[in-house]
């Protein structure tokens, strides 16, 4: 039971990463590699700020702002300098590695004995602190995004990803939309990094490796498991996908795999999920599980 609670708590905290990537990957049609640098950036900023005596909440906000700045850089590289979107993300991601080392001063910084956002929750039963914190953050962020996407501005943002030529012909400044989307997305990823670092009790320079796969897994498991949904429901599905993904990992680890195998397992899980629609054609797996997939077909 404890392990399951822990997995749910981790799923909730990591869901922010999936939601962040959803904004760029699914809505803007932009495969943003920046997140692999932004995630440890958020962790590095939060942990360094906390060890320098800044309040956990302040440190977490700083981490989100740092993520936002990384998104801005990728956005400018991509829209103003006209660098290919994938490459722009890789450039920022690579640069972030050095920046993260500079911020932390060494490759691993511990939060041992420091106050974190989880400290006030320490009286809850074991692992329920992450569940509680995760739930609150996810509720606020999801509600905020649902509101945002239903505004005139949010609709213009969605249209930019859906059909940029049309968006421009309606007077939407698509470059600004891409930049703002990347900033928003990476702010969420930075926030996620800050929360995970506080939950783990440390920041590590290598903690970004494989994050894009984890984010994609949350998105795609959510889509595969829940099928045809409205945009708002899809945002919620990302969080559920993130929790399911943690439960799958838990199950796999219970089978005796080592935590060193996690990135391999993550990739296999994601690859299997992405293959499902194709496998369905060959193996005729039952409908609802596959129906939703990636299209909006009714």
């Amino acid at each position: 039971m404890n392990l399951i609670t822990s997995a749910i708590g981790q799923g909730l905290l990591w869901a922010l990463l999936g939601i962040g990537l959803y904004l760029t990957f699914r809505i803007l049609n932009f495969a943003d590699m920046t997140v692999e640098g932004t995630f440890p950036l958020g962790a590095a900023v939060a942990v360094t700020a906390i060890t320098h005596g800044i309040s956990p909440l302040g440190a977490t906000v700083l981490a989100a702002l740092a993520g936002m700045a990384a998104g801005l850089i990728t956005g400018l590289l991509c829209t103003k300098a006209k660098i290919d979107s994938l490459l722009a993300g890789i450039l920022t991601m690579t640069a972030a590695y050095s920046v993260n080392l500079r911020i932390m001063g060494k490759s691993n910084v511990s939060l041992l004995g420091k106050q974190t956002l989880l400290t006030p929750l320490r009286n809850l039963p074991q692992y329920f602190d992450s569940v509680f914190l995760g739930l609150i953050v996810i509720l606020i962020i999801t509600a905020g995004l649902i509101f945002f996407l239903q505004t005139d501005f949010g609709q213009a943002f969605i249209a930019t990803g859906d059909n940029p030529v049309m968006a421009r012909s309606l007077g939407i400044k698509t470059d600004s939309m891409v930049i703002i989307g990347l900033m928003l997305s990476n702010a969420l990823v930075g926030l996620c990094g800050a929360l995970i670092a506080q939950s783990n009790g440390y920041a590590d320079i290598n903690m970004g490796i494989g994050t894009i796969v984890i984010a994609l897994a949350s998105i795609i498991i959510g889509e595969v498991a829940f099928g045809d949904l409205t945009l708002n429901q899809r945002l919620v599905a990302v969080t559920l996908g993130s929790i399911i993904y943690r439960l799958i990992l838990l199950a796999v680890l219970q089978l005796g795999f080592s935590t060193n195998d996690l990135n391999l397992i993550s990739s296999i899980v994601l690859a299997l999920c992405m293959m499902l629609p194709r496998l369905n054609n060959v193996l005729h797996i039952k409908e609802p599980f596959v129906k939703g997939g990636l299209s909006h077909d009714k």
Partner: protein, 257 residues
């Protein structure tokens, strides 16, 4: 700034060049002069490569001019961006996929277009309140579009999608409407019904429109003016009575070489 006695759109000595500075440098439009008056509905014909699409790209702002100037109601718009020009100009593309957002619903697309050229704020869009109005608008196309307001646009037929593109271009009255062979990708029946609806809308709303077409019959039937483009120049410009008396044979003569 604007003065209604000024022409709606004026092109002065507009030339465009592609591959400038390379051995492949080609001049597409050659010193085009064109004055479009308020309420003009102009059919544009010409062979492939005559510069019809280039002319539209120049007017819409997606292609810079090499020399010359453009004026909208007397205001120089030569250096205005595509986004800025959308405040007075709208366009329907030939490809139905170009003019609509496939994953957004019909109603969402219409709402987006209703704010063409306006700043978009962080305020709720009020989709539900506007549905009855959008439904009525969609019904004016007579092709069942009003039944599909909540359908993702990607699931519409080509004809419905193009009808939607046309509605989106006119939901907020444009000063200038560009129709770039907007019925060419449709079957003959659907094409005719969309052209009919187009003509009706342009006449009723007294719109100023330019329509590229490859069908001579349509060029003769619709509009009060007809322009023939050839090798980047306007070789004929018929208006009013002169246009009404034109025959198909006369038009085909322009394509003899």
């Amino acid at each position: 700034m604007t003065n209604n006695r000024e022409p709606m759109l004026q092109l002065k000595d507009v030339s465009t060049v592609v591959n400038a500075g390379t051995p492949n440098q080609t001049t597409i439009l050659k010193k085009i002069n064109l004055t479009i008056n308020d309420g003009d509905f102009i059919s544009i014909i010409g062979t492939n490569g005559a510069g019809k699409s280039t002319l539209f790209n120049v007017i819409a702002g997606s292609l810079p001019v090499a020399s010359g100037q453009l004026f909208h109601q007397g205001v120089d718009i030569t250096t205005m961006s595509v986004e800025q020009r959308t405040s007075f100009l709208s366009r329907v593309f030939q490809d139905p996929k170009m003019g609509t957002a496939p994953r957004m619903t019909v109603a969402e697309n219409l709402l987006l277009a209703a704010k063409r050229g306006e700043k978009r704020h962080l305020i709720p869009r009020h989709l539900k309140q506007r549905l009855p109005e959008l439904k009525q608008l969609a019904a004016s196309m007579n092709n069942g579009l009003e039944q599909r307001l909540n359908t993702a646009t990607g699931n519409l037929s080509g004809g419905q999608r193009q009808a939607l593109s046309f509605l989106m271009a006119t939901i907020k009255r444009p000063d200038i409407l560009l129709l770039d062979e907007h019925t060419a990708a449709l079957d003959p029946h659907t094409s005719q019904s969309l052209l009919h609806a187009t003509n009706q809308r342009i006449t009723e709303d007294h719109l100023t429109a330019l329509m590229i077409t490859h069908r001579m019959e349509d060029a003769l039937t619709y509009g009060n003016r007809l322009i023939v483009l050839k090798a980047g120049q306007i070789v004929a410009d018929f208006a009013g009575k002169e246009k009404q008396q034109l025959t198909l044979d006369q038009l085909y003569d322009f394509f003899e070489d």
